[in-house]
Symmetry: C2
Subunit: 547 residues, 2 copies
């Protein structure tokens, strides 16, 4: 059977845009003699629509979109993800569904059974789990249609406990009773660099276990924090991938289930390249889907803002990115010259504006109130907030969205000023530890120096007091990041982190800092998620607690 | 049977503090000849611990606390809420449980079946629903123990759809098969002024339906946004409340199930008084539980900051609250005099610091960049951000937490400056519409003028440009708030709001503003929740979407 895998980029609630895109792909598939077009989970409305699902109006529009699409399904069938109303007397109001459309009509509805409710996922908030099993008969194939998590029966419980199976039911075991000949799984599975291998493994294991070919269609594109990487694939009944769609871009590809061992199209990419492409897609879609096209950022001469500038230029074009250089009395000369060299390498416009007059002014104004008090972190934060104010003024006046340049290590330990350098509409590298920031900078420079070498090799400093270095108050980043990874990603208790070979006092300090700064992270911009545990929606810690 | 209802204020993860409190209540109950002490849901660890539940260490500490408490349960039994590990092969790792402790040991574990996963609740993120039913036999009583939502079988689906039952199972119908003689429900049910009546109704209906007395013990105290109001109660088998514990304070009270019609202790309180007490408790616990005791806020001479100042003084004491008056060239004279009169009425300290020099300075600094551009909202935002910077400088220097003074109406339509007047560690009145702000101000003044009358009667203005009034850019607050309530709380679609009798263009504008400002609310402080739909964790909207 000729099947078109339609890996598309959808915008949440853009019914007109999404429907047009879907219909166009169906026409394209039909013109190439495909008999079935498969789209991702929640194709009609985009994923994740969150509490928009609670509006009746939203669900009505999904239904209308499905009807409109159905009119184009003659001589071709389609499988499309959409929310569907639960008409039972009790339970959550919706199902997360795949509709099978044939001869201009919805022929059957297949609902998701395993509803991820962990990390960034809250599907149980909206959906009733499916308990009714059925198969789609079509052109001599008996298709077992499942949705994303349905094939992740062996998803381990995500915590530091002894591991057990997360789910009590196996959708494919149920569907096997109907003697299927083909499995189709539609997904909206976001990218994370430390999980991207396991997806392929899980899918291949399913094909092998059930001895059935498996078609997998994933969403591509970013919706706020979540970056969907695509990488849809077709796997034969022995568990071998025979066609793999590209990562991070739209693609419609025909595969033939009867000639599964013919041409093998593979899709390998090193983790760092995936991270690079993921972030660029994340920036691009944030702007494109909100209707903005220009960005501004503060360029300090340090590695973080340099990296963000390069990524922004790649995502938006050099003509759409503006840099503000805002030196103070504590800025070293190389900060300005390094930053200027980068703007020149990239060809972006910039303004240079000293914060010295404003800083002096604040100091003077506060003399009567601060009388007799020693200089401390207050004065450092004032400098950062003056910069935040200037950046937001630029943003307000010219309509450029401010890009935040904080990295995950500093967000973790609270090494940043709320409303100062923590300001911005989108956190670009907030899910990259400092050591990953260096890796990505080196990757960018691997085909020629874009980021001036001096920016990469100099010792990190916030330059908010004389001769300040990050290492004055924090452990070295290669140590810090390992401790943070163990604590945040792996939820390893303090004692066990110490047993890994770290100094007890250092570990205690790091954990204390992470806990004490939940309130700062609570108020930061959405963070482009590239790991399996980013700050933000997927990590929910009480602000008021005994830590 | 003599039962002690122990309505206590727990701090999340404060195992030592919570355990000490529980043991002390057990001793007190025993000394008064109670044979059973009942504590709220998650008494050992506080509710809601959120992702702390994913740490094995946290669960171990809960278990230890239960063991420690058990040692004090001789000649008295106890029912206590705690997370318990699910030892089955599959499913979520934890149960939300009530342990029944007798003779120094946990005798039985009763787990929650109905797991709220809507609004601020995400219980399915952590817990497996219970499917095993059992009863606690104790001193000639057969006790059906349930947890909070378990009695809310008729919880309607929370959205604008046709209503249906949310749950597919009824725990009490199952437990009825064991012929219970008494129902006990332990809860951590947060306050919302528009739901506080329905709680009592639901509980009384349960007692009536099952013809059994019902003991209900709720948590009291605030944990970040959520304010638990207590109001524990004992209801007889005919569905009449015969003892009701106070709202918003700790209380341990003995009731006798055999003399249920004796003295009736009622607990009526008007909604506005509940809101007043709720917010004061919210502020108090935020400070007390984080170990801070001093607050600072910007006092503009307007109603919002005036109200927050009164509430803060009530919660923290006048000696712990400091006001900053920060007039600009656009501030009217009455703004300063009204603000000063309020500080004098309350006896709080203040500093007056003009933002004029800083504002002029920013304007001058930006001339080369803004050359030729007209004055617009940018300059308004700069003023607000200078104030934010000064307030945070005060906060940093003296350790006072900045209280945010935004109300729900302005947060809804984005009438506020991110990193300016939207700054702060805690949003005190962010869940009060402007019309409720006036109601609460009038309530406070009902026994004598605390808030100067001029602050209440003058037309609201941000005073960020000459002669500015809120009504220049927004509909009148009595209209605006009704539209907002319909859209936000009731999820009414645009057309239906218009049908309620509002101007179509006005409704369209308001809805457009609400949608366009999701990004601002994403970055604001936690909001003390007093309604059934507050901004923040309980309302999750995509930032990038077509609205």
């Amino acid at each position: 059977m000729q099947i078109a895998l339609c890996q598309l980029n959808f915008k949440i609630a853009d019914f007109e845009g999404n429907t047009t895109k879907i219909i166009s792909a169906i026409k394209q598939a039909k013109s190439k003699n495909a008999v079935l077009a498969v789209f991702s989970e929640f194709a009609v409305c985009g994923y994740p629509p969150l509490d928009m699902l609670e509006n009746k109006d939203f669900i009505d529009k999904c239904e209308k979109a499905v009807n409109q699409i159905s009119e184009h399904c003659h001589q071709i069938a389609a499988i499309i993800g959409t929310p569907v109303i639960n008409t039972n007397e009790s339970g959550k109001k919706l199902f997360n569904s795949a509709v099978f459309i044939e001869k201009g009509k919805v022929k059957s509805i297949h609902c998701k059974s395993l509803l991820p409710s962990y990390d960034v996922f809250d599907e149980y908030r909206y959906f009733e789990p499916n308990k009714l099993w059925q198969i789609a008969d079509y052109k001599n194939e008996r298709i077992a249609i499942t949705i994303c998590e349905d094939l992740w029966v062996n998803q381990p419980v995500e915590n530091s406990f002894t591991r057990q199976k997360l789910y009590t039911c196996s959708p494919m075991d149920e569907l096997l009773k109907f003697s299927p000949t083909l499995m189709i799984n539609i997904a909206s599975s976001p990218f994370s660099f430390n999980h991207s291998g396991s997806r392929k493994t899980v899918l291949c294991e399913n094909a092998k276990k059930y001895k059935l070919p498996l078609i997998y269609v994933n969403q591509v594109g970013a919706n706020t924090e979540l970056i969907f990487d695509g990488g849809s694939m077709a796997i034969n009944a022995t568990g071998k991938v025979f066609s793999e769609l590209p990562y991070f871009e739209e693609s419609v590809r025909l595969i033939d289930t009867s000639t599964t061992s013919a041409e093998i199209q593979k899709n390998e990419m090193p983790a760092i390249e995936k991270i690079y492409k993921a972030i660029i897609l994340g920036i691009h879609d944030y702007f494109n889907k909100t209707g903005f096209n220009k960005a501004v950022l503060g360029l300090s001469g340090g590695i973080d803002s340099a990296l963000v500038l390069v990524l922004a230029v790649k995502a938006l074009g050099k003509e759409n990115v503006h840099a503000l250089l805002m030196p103070s009395r504590y800025s070293s000369q190389h900060s300005v010259t390094d930053a200027l060299m980068l703007t020149s390498n990239l060809g972006v416009t910039y303004d240079l504006i000293s914060i010295e007059p404003a800083f002096t002014n604040f100091e003077t104004s506060l003399v009567p109130i601060f009388a007799g008090k020693a200089t401390d972190i207050t004065e450092e934060n004032i400098q950062a907030r003056i910069r935040g104010t200037l950046l937001m003024a630029y943003s307000n006046k010219f309509g450029n969205i401010l890009l935040n340049t904080s990295n995950k290590s500093e967000m973790a330990v609270g090494y940043g000023t709320l409303y100062g350098d923590m300001a911005g509409g989108l956190s670009v590298i907030g899910d990259l530890y400092k050591t990953q920031v260096y890796q990505l900078a080196n990757y960018i420079n691997s085909h020629g120096e874009i980021i001036p070498r001096n920016i990469i090799i100099k010792a990190p400093s916030a330059e908010l007091r004389p001769n300040q270095k990050d290492s004055d108050s924090l452990p070295k980043y290669d140590i810090l990041d390992k401790i943070l990874f163990a604590y945040i990603e792996q939820k390893t208790p303090l004692e066990e982190i110490v047993e890994l070979g770290f100094d007890k006092q250092v570990v205690e300090k790091v954990i204390r800092l992470v806990n004490a700064n939940e309130y700062k992270r609570f108020q930061t911009a959405p963070v482009l998620r590239i790991s399996s545990k980013a700050f933000g929606f997927g990590r929910r810690m009480p602000l008021v607690a005994k830590y």
